[in-house]
């Protein structure tokens, strides 16, 4: 039993719903009680979808349990098939139905339908949402393509030449409730198209079962989100010899590496290598003298595996930040995140407990947090600027404007999204500096008029909490005054360090000099 106050991921059947809702001509009969219908709002409210998820919930009740819940399942399957006429039917159960063991998938298969039926077994008591999405996508592909396995020769990634056409690839992994998937797909297709590569199928987002059946018309697969598509890509590789890409095209370096990888796999010469460096504004913006102040900014990163790893690389190599924390809630990607963390000399944090993340954030004392919406809240409490880089989804993560994370435009979006909160932080700092000027009265609320309050008041009111430490160390007036001159976003750290130093040296009173002694000691 695990005490959970908040969870980054939903249950695995919500992952299955993400696949079903992303696609066309699919219906999902979910053996589940009525409360599980809440999941619809994730799609209709958060993603602002104008269609209901294609899901029929059997909504069994306590009184059905004594009777024949299996009959109820069959009745719902029959009604759903008649009403929605899906080309492929997904059948599964949520946590409660898993306990009753009606085996709805087997029941559906015994009902004599012509359409393919995918029996989803998603263990609700050990797995989570992304795993459920991955497993559903994989089972769907397997069901629709397994008959073609023996009859097909292995796909030669170079066959496009013999066929006398442009190379074709599939883009696998984008789904509803995935972070900026809608726009990433457009960006990646644009990039591929510029390189003379056609997109065969995008799945699951916008695909139908017919599209899944023609996945093997492509030469290779683009694995865009490993959490969702890696298992499927692996199966397609094993059974059809389809190679797939490993590079996630987030950030300039990764986007270029991704393009290289695709070209290598297709044996397609890359003709515009020099041009690629200038496709995004990020490299120049990062190099421009204005960005000097970004150097060494301490960033703390937490999110799903794909986005956290990419963020670490961009932060370190493209923006010149210092990564002081890296973690993920995706246990399935723990290995990769650990490897990246090792490269940058931090210990990876693998957890589903947001309080642990907040704690780690506090200890790392970053100047910028890149996280999920939960880290945004935690950072707000700690007074640290934050930019959201990962699911779980929030309405704000489905912006009206084109706003990818991947490719050239994605890099532009990332530069703005990460740097603007820091600029706001800088603005706060300047305000803090100027607050002692007599024109600056009582904070910075208004450009109009001045109501008289003495600067002394401001000084005093803000400083009370920094007076004495709990260890009984006294801050002298000069010490306190010096501390107020330290930029607010590192003030906490300076205070802690100075007190640590004072304890270490047995100094009972902290003066301005102690501050400088401590600074020298810790640097």
């Amino acid at each position: 039993m695990e005490l959970t106050l908040w969870t980054y991921e939903g249950p695995p059947h919500v992952g299955a719903m993400r696949i079903a809702s992303s696609m066309k001509d699919i219906h999902y009969v979910l053996h589940a009680p009525q409360g599980d219908t809440y999941a619809d709002l994730l799609f209709t409210m958060i993603e602002r979808r104008g269609q209901r998820p294609p899901v029929t919930y059997t909504t069994f009740q306590a009184r059905d349990l004594g009777g024949d819940t299996a009959e109820l399942v069959k009745k719902n399957i029959k009604e759903a098939v008649e009403r929605f006429k899906p080309k492929t039917l997904l059948v599964g159960e949520s946590c409660t139905a898993e306990l009753i063991q009606d085996q709805p998938g087997a029941l559906a298969k015994g009902m004599g339908f012509d359409m393919p039926i995918v029996n989803l077994e998603l263990p609700a008591y050990s797995k989570k949402e992304n795993w459920g999405a991955s497993e559903t996508f994989y089972q769907l592909i397997r069901t629709l393509l397994k008959e073609k396995v023996s009859s097909s020769d292995k796909i030669n990634p170079l066959r496009w030449r013999e066929l006398g056409r442009r190379p074709k690839v599939n883009i696998l992994g984008p789904s509803l409730l995935g972070f900026r998937c809608r726009d990433d797909v457009i960006e990646i297709q644009r990039i591929l198209s510029e390189q003379g590569i056609d997109t065969n199928v995008v799945a699951p987002l916008g695909a139908s079962p017919d599209d899944i059946e023609r996945l093997i018309d492509a030469e290779i697969n683009i694995c865009l989100y490993q959490e969702i598509a890696e298992a499927s890509c692996e199966w397609l590789k094993r059974n059809f010899g389809m190679e797939y890409t490993n590079t996630i095209p987030i950030g300039i370096k990764n986007t270029i590496e991704f393009i290289n990888e695709v070209h290598e796999k297709l044996d397609l010469p890359l003709t515009n290598k020099e041009e690629l460096e200038n496709k995004s504004k990020l490299p120049w913006y990062s190099k421009s003298v204005d960005s000097n102040y970004l150097t060494g900014k301490r960033v703390f990163i937490f999110g799903d595996g794909t986005h956290a790893i990419a963020a670490a690389k961009i932060a370190k190599e493209e923006l010149g930040f210092e990564v002081v924390g890296l973690g993920t809630y995706s246990r399935e990607m723990a290995r990769q995140v650990r490897a990246t963390a090792k490269d940058i000399n931090v210990e990876a944090l693998i957890t589903n407990n947001y309080l642990e993340v907040e704690d780690a954030m506090k200890k790392a004392a970053p100047e910028l947090v890149l996280g999920t919406q939960m880290e945004r809240h935690s950072a707000k409490r700690l007074g640290i600027p934050c930019s959201v880089i990962s699911t779980p989804m929030h309405v704000q993560d489905v912006p009206a404007r084109y706003s990818p994370q991947m490719g050239w435009e994605g890099a532009n979006v990332i530069f703005d999204d990460w740097v603007h909160p820091l600029m706001m932080g800088l603005e706060e700092h300047l305000i803090d500096m100027f607050k002692h000027d007599f024109e600056f009265v009582d904070g910075h609320q208004s450009h109009l008029g001045h109501t008289a309050t003495s600067t002394n008041n401001i000084l005093n009111s803000g400083e009370k909490k920094e007076k004495n430490s709990k260890e009984g160390i006294i801050w002298t007036e000069s010490g306190r005054a010096e501390l107020t001159k330290v930029p607010f976003f590192v003030r906490g750290k300076v205070k802690t360090n100075t007190e640590k130093y004072a304890i270490l040296r047995g100094i009972p009173e902290i003066s301005d000099e102690t501050l400088y002694d401590a600074k020298a000691y810790f640097s």
């Binding site: 106050l5 249950p11 009680p33 599980d36 809440y38 999941a39 709002l41 209709t44 009740q61 946590c95």
Partner: protein, 418 residues
Amino acid sequence: MSKVEFNKETGPREVFCGLTSIVWLHRRMPDAFFLVVGSRTCAHLIQSAAGVMIFAEPRFGTAILEEKDLAGLADAHEELDRVVNDLIARRPEIKTLFLVGSCPSEVIKLDLATVAEKLNKRFLGQVRFVNYSGSGIETTFTQGEDGALKALIPLMESSNEEKLLLVGTLANNVEDRFKKIFRNLGISNIESFPPRQSTELPKIGKNTKVLLTQPYLSDTVRDLKHRGCEIISAPFPLGIEGSTKWFLAAAKAFKISELKVHEIISPLINRAKLALDSHKEILKGKRLFLLPESQLEISLARFLHNECEMDLVEVGTPYLNKDLMKEEINLLPDNTKIVEGQHVEKQLDRVRESNPDLVVCGMGLANPLEAEGISTKWSIEMVFSPIHGIDQAADLAGLFSKPLKRNQILTSKTLVTH
């Protein structure tokens, strides 16, 4: 009883389960913690319904069952013990801990009553443990509050003191207004259940006169009756009419004259009517379809028809207690179609066929209906907004007029291009 048409429907539903009511119950009683014993689905449901994100460490959580808990119940009990210990160590300020049963805990027959009993002994004088079920196989949405309140009744001491007991969660400001009005009427001993502090439970007995503020409390009412309480029969205090009749019923139980009631509330009524007018202008003659979810549907239908002149196409309710609702049903216009239960697909077919001007529905259905060109109002807003009482009648109407008004604004051309 007016000639109302009663129908029952079964089939796939689209409603919240009783766990959802934790979202407002935990805010009502800031010294209580709600620990759901359930699955990741339960945790995900509450955080999604609670507005997707939380801003601080919440006073609700889920003890998520894992595979090893399912293997042996004895271990599950031990595990729950451990989780509770951790929780109390972490949140020592908690005075009452609700152990809330869920679908999976009910199916594996986890005996939360026994667990609560044991914990009560161990934490005697520190924390009280109460258990109830908010499971979706037994409860719909607001019925979770019914379960939570029912579970508190055995903890309430007996007293023969005469008092008015308002039963059902109210917004604090509305509660204060009601108490002021009752005091003006001459009723001085007024208490609320649930109270604002879980430890300040009202005492009850044969001179307790219960006035319901919410229509979804069937089980609570039954147990209060068993404790000797008198249940005042009245419509619910939604809108001017409902609130007036509600005050009158209470006054009658305390032998206060109708005249006195009118004297006190007339200025309120006049003021409220004035405020209601602008909304009525928009709502008048518009056709309303209520999908089942909160059990407030019948009272809302009565208000929106009688006071806002809307036409009722269909009034859905997840569950109908005809006895508790008789005063409300009496006020409905003839031939009102009430449908208890749901077959969501068939009901949506009827929505499309009847093409109403406004549909009251859950959050999962709102945008899909909007996309089809049908205006909607989320039913969950009714349980989060202060809508009770005469003073709030216009605000209540405003919840329904706003989507229509917005539609009007977005489809009209008021500015000419020069």
